[in-house]
């Protein structure tokens, strides 16, 4: 109802004042009413005294007048004549002089001698002997009596000659004139009433009154036996009267009373002016208080409204306008607080925005900012044609740096990379750190070819080692490139495709790659495989296949390479290339490696126990080599399956050393110390030099299949194979050739002096049971096995899909 503060303030003040005024008015009015009644009572009391006094005076006056009249010699003489007619005429004459209405002559023995009213009545006794007795004692007597239905002021005086010889009775009628006279003197309405009470009936008859026609209502309202000296109240409201009753005479059943009355309404009317003044004052002050309340309320609510508006501006994000502070009161303090709040919020919001869109480590924009910018840029392209390119990159050996040198080193690398990228690019290009070691670059308004150029520049820039506390850190990168609108209709797709291209580049070690829709299918499979890998170990879907290595000198199987196969319940056999890279990215490779190691060591131990000393080679990924627990784990497995360490060979690709040659060296030393054989896999695809390899405790070198498969057609390649074999031998290493698929290759390798050959020409990878069967039945069977001459085995060799 009173939602607004102003309304409430106004209502409160006005209601309070109105209440006080109404109360005051009611009290004053009630006091007035009481005063009026008390005043009337007082007036009535005074009036009654005055009335009594007036009646007394009237009596006195009339008595004296009568006495004077009675002393008139002529009258006395006439009376002395004893002639009734003379007496009556004399009485009339002299009574008329003093305005008497009735005259009577009463003898000393109280017989009525003459009566101006009843001329021919018989002699009778005077009705009011008491009056005569009183007159005899006091010289005169008077009272109001009822005669012939009229009230008379009777006066009895003696006729002195000089002793009383008879009594003169004079009657003065009590009429409206007398009442009016009395009213003039008392200020009260005066009425004379006669009780007409008979047996069983009560009532009053008005004899004389100042009320005129209203006298009848008084007669009907007057109680039957009104107590004298009490104030009675008759009538209601405007008709209300206060009365006093004076009993004048009791004669038989007749009661003669005088009634003095005062109208309450008239008396109160004198207070009406006061009441009207009060009402006028009340209305005026009410009006003033309303006006004052409105002024005060506005004084309070207007600045509050202003503050409210300021707060709403802040809510809408507008922090630029300060609140006007010109007041020194509480509202001024509030406004000042609001200003401080506004500044605080503005500062914090900009900080939050900074944190939300900026990477705190490198001070580069973060993923959110990049996505936003990318979406806006795509919007611009849509409107103005043209194109943009997204470069997605991550650092090749960042995790290694982080794990081995600590996070400070990692942070330093990230900052340095960010700095180099920033320096490399135009001001308008955006470089963002998406998280971890992942960076993204947005190139707007460039040709697709230019994006590749930029990628090359980045690769070149990051070839320079990063200096950390005097130690050079070699951090490589892979860059995926996707163009808009060619490689996606929206920001999300473009980003994802750049990501896919990056993995392709990483896998193919090409440095950078532009997205190709072909990548997509693999990528999709990888994504679903990723979740399946978790299941694979638990559901026993993994298998180890073994491909024999044939000793070229004895043409007998000397060892096997254990190769991982995933027998997918719906997709059949999945080659390692399909899921190993993902396992490496997710860290799940640790579990796979452990499974492969345990299975191959178990199988090797089993064969060993069964009298078949078949060396087993196991492929170890570069990441496994960074696992410091690897040597301990292998030692435990060897012990568990009672497998001689010398029966197990670990095959490591060149890249495994390149990431951190020093650490790799240490791990290899420990593995070597266990008695394990070590092999360099895929030799020739990397950049490692033989001199470096010579320092490592390795026992074997595996020539990459790409050389072996081309050596028959290409003279240069055959030269490389030959020199590699010679160099390996010169370093005391056994040399194994992979990818031997025909007899010519086999013969050539024999001629070149290669130690072992492995390939489909001899056997594809086989399950353990089939391998045992193969050994028994094949021409390469175990019978020709030369135990001391076949120490080199490679295992878990990913079969390249290309």
């Amino acid at each position: 109802m009173f939602r607004r503060l102003r309304t409430r303030i106004i209502f409160f003040f006005v209601a309070l004042l109105a209440l006080v005024q109404i109360a005051a008015f009611v009290f004053v009015n009630a006091a007035n009413s009481t005063n009026a009644r008390q005043k009337i009572e007082g007036e009535l009391l005074v009036g009654e005294r005055l009335f009594a006094r007036l009646l007394e005076q009237n009596r006195e006056r009339l008595s004296q007048t009568a006495r004077v009249m009675a002393a008139d010699y002529g009258l006395r003489e006439a009376i002395a004549t004893d002639d009734v007619n003379t007496v009556i005429s004399a009485l009339r004459n002299h009574g008329g002089r003093i305005n008497a209405n009735m005259m009577m002559l009463v003898s000393l023995d109280r017989n009525v001698v003459a009566d101006t009213f009843a001329l021919d009545t018989r002699p009778r006794q005077f009705e009011f002997p008491m009056l005569i007795e009183q007159a005899a004692r006091q010289g005169s007597a008077s009272s109001i009596e009822l005669i012939n239905g009229h009230a008379y002021q009777l006066v009895v005086v003696p006729v002195l000659a000089p002793l009383p010889i008879s009594w003169i009775v004079l009657g003065f009628v009590v009429d409206d004139g007398l009442a009016a006279e009395l009213r003039q003197l008392t200020g009260l309405q005066v009425s004379f009433l006669q009780s007409t009470a008979g047996p069983g009936s009560t009532g009053w008859r008005v004899l004389a009154s100042t009320l005129g026609s209203e006298g009848s209502s008084l007669a009907s309202a007057l109680p039957a036996l009104p107590a004298a000296s009490e104030v009675h109240r008759i009538g209601e409201e405007a008709e209300e009267q206060q009365i006093r009753v004076i009993t004048l005479d009791h004669f038989g059943d007749n009661i003669l009373v005088a009634v003095l009355q005062r109208s309450v309404a008239q008396a109160i009317a004198s207070f009406d002016n006061l009441r009207q003044t009060l009402i006028a004052l009340g209305a005026l002050s009410l009006f003033l208080s309303v006006a004052g309340s409105i002024a005060i309320a506005q004084g309070i609510t207007r600045p509050i409204s202003e503050l409210s508006e300021a707060a709403q501006r802040m809510q809408a994000g507008d922090y630029s306008q300060p609140v006007d502070v010109t007041r020194g009161d509480e509202i001024g303090v509030l406004a000042t607080s609001l200003n401080h709040m506004r500044e605080g919020i503005a500062a914090r919001e900009s900080e939050i925005l900074r944190l939300a869109y900026q990477d705190t480590l490198t001070d580069l924009p973060n993923r959110s900012r990049f996505n936003e910018r990318l979406q806006r840029a795509i919007g611009n392209v849509k409107q103005q044609d043209g194109g943009l390119s997204v470069l997605m990159m991550d650092l090749d050996r960042f995790k290694y740096v982080n794990d081995t040198l600590g996070h400070n080193a990692g942070d330093h690398v990230l900052r340095e990379v960010g700095k180099r990228l920033r320096e490399l690019l135009r001001k308008d290009d955006m470089v963002a750190r998406l998280g971890g070691d992942e960076f993204a670059i947005l190139l707007e308004g460039v040709e697709p070819g230019n994006a590749a150029t930029v990628a090359q520049k980045i690769l070149a820039s990051l070839e320079k080692p990063i200096d950390y506390l005097g130690q050079p850190l070699d951090v490589g990168t892979s860059i995926g490139i996707a163009h808009y609108p060619q490689h996606g209709a929206d920001a999300g797709t473009v980003l994802r495709n750049a990501d896919i291209a990056m993995y392709v580049a990483k896998r193919n070690k090409t440095g950078s790659a532009v997205y190709d829709p072909q990548y997509d299918t693999h990528q999709q499979e990888h994504l679903s495989l990723l979740s399946d890998i978790r299941r694979a170990v638990e559901n026993n879907e993994l298998r180890l296949y073994y491909q024999p290595k044939i000793s070229l000198s004895s043409s007998a199987a000397a060892a096997v390479e254990a190769l991982l196969r995933w027998i997918h319940p719906t997709r059949g056999v999945i080659p390692p290339a399909e899921f190993i890279p993902f396992a490496e990215q997710t860290g799940y490779i640790k579990v796979l490696t452990r499974w492969v190691l345990e299975e191959s060591i178990r199988q090797c131990g089993k064969w060993h126990a069964g009298g078949l000393d078949m060396k087993v080679s196991v492929n170890i990924s570069a990441r496994d080599l960074m696992n410091r627990d690897l040597p301990d784990m292998i030692a435990q497995l060897l012990a568990k399956y009672r497998t001689p360490a010398a029966m197990i060979c670990l095959e490591i690709t060149e890249s495994g050393f390149i990431e951190d040659p020093a650490y790799a060296h240490k791990v290899l030393d420990r593995l070597n110390a266990l008695g394990l054989q070590l092999s360099i896999d895929d030799y020739g695809t990397g950049y490692s030099s033989l001199s470096y390899i010579a320092q490592l405790p390795v026992d074997e070198l595996k020539i990459d299949r790409s050389f072996v498969m081309r050596m028959l057609e290409d003279k240069t390649t055959s030269m490389i194979v030959r020199s590699t074999i010679e160099l390996g031998h010169s370093l005391g290493l056994k040399v194994v050739a992979e990818g031997v698929e025909d007899e010519d290759s086999y013969r050539m390798l024999q001629q070149l002096g290669c130690d072992h050959a492995q390939g489909y020409f001899m056997s594809r990878p086989l399950p353990a049971r089939e391998l045992e069967e193969w050994l028994r039945t094949s021409q390469w069977g175990q019978t020709k096995y030369e135990p001391n001459n076949t120490a080199r085995i490679s295992l878990l060799k990913p079969v390249k899909s290309s």
């Binding site: 010699y73 002395a80 000393l108 023995d109 002195l160 000659a161 000089p162 002793l163 010889i165």
Partner: protein
């Protein structure tokens, strides 16, 4: 005035004794109801059968200091009474009493004619000018009457022997009261005590 009554307790004197001469002398001692001497009370004896042989003597009723002097007097029927005015103001003496109604017009000094009181009865006199002036004249048909002095003694002298009716009067009793028969012997001096119950009479100051 019925209530007014007269009680006369007439006691025989300790003894009636005759005096020398033909005429006898009668002395009455009159007291009021409380035993106080009733000054101004009138006592008279009358013989209904005997014709009054005595000629009435003239009497005088003076007016001094707006007072009749004497206020109470008794005369034989037919007595002319003079009303000399001793004051230096005028009076108008009147009477409405049935025994004698008269008016002396305003006068001073001695009026020309005395007023003859020719009927027995009580005559109340007043002055029309001065309401307080009042006098009573008892007119009786006998020459033998007396008026009580301050001691209540009223003396009647020269009463011939015979049987009389004894009466007493005072303004306080309005009409004369009979006290019974009285036997008068020659040369006898007779005394009698009489009691007269009277009402107070306003205006009666010096009876």
């Amino acid at each position: 005035m019925n209530a007014m009554f007269l009680r006369i307790a007439a006691f025989c004197a300790l003894g009636l004794f005759a005096t020398t001469g033909a005429a006898a002398e009668f002395t009455a001692t009159i007291t009021d109801g409380t035993g106080q001497p009733l000054r101004g009370a009138i006592v008279y004896v009358s013989d209904a059968n005997a014709a009054s042989g005595n000629k009435a003597k003239a009497a005088k009723l003076d007016q001094v200091d707006k007072t009749f002097v004497p206020q109470v007097s008794v005369v034989q029927t037919g007595t002319p009474i003079e009303f000399p005015n001793s004051d230096n103001i005028r009076h108008q003496v009147y009477s409405f009493s049935p025994a004698k109604v008269f008016t002396l017009k305003l006068y001073s000094g001695r009026p020309a004619e005395p007023v003859v009181f020719d009927k027995p009865g009580v005559v109340v006199l007043g002055c029309n000018i001065h309401d307080t002036m009042i006098a009573w004249v008892l007119v009786v048909d006998t020459p033998w009457f007396g008026k009580a002095d301050a001691q209540g003694h009223a003396v009647i002298k020269g009463i011939p022997a015979g049987t009389y009716e004894l009466s007493a009067w005072h303004p306080g009793v309005m009409l004369p009261v009979s006290a019974g028969q009285i036997e008068i012997k020659p040369q006898e001096t007779l005394s009698r005590a009489m009691k007269l119950a009277v009402t107070p009479v306003p205006g009666l100051t010096s009876p």
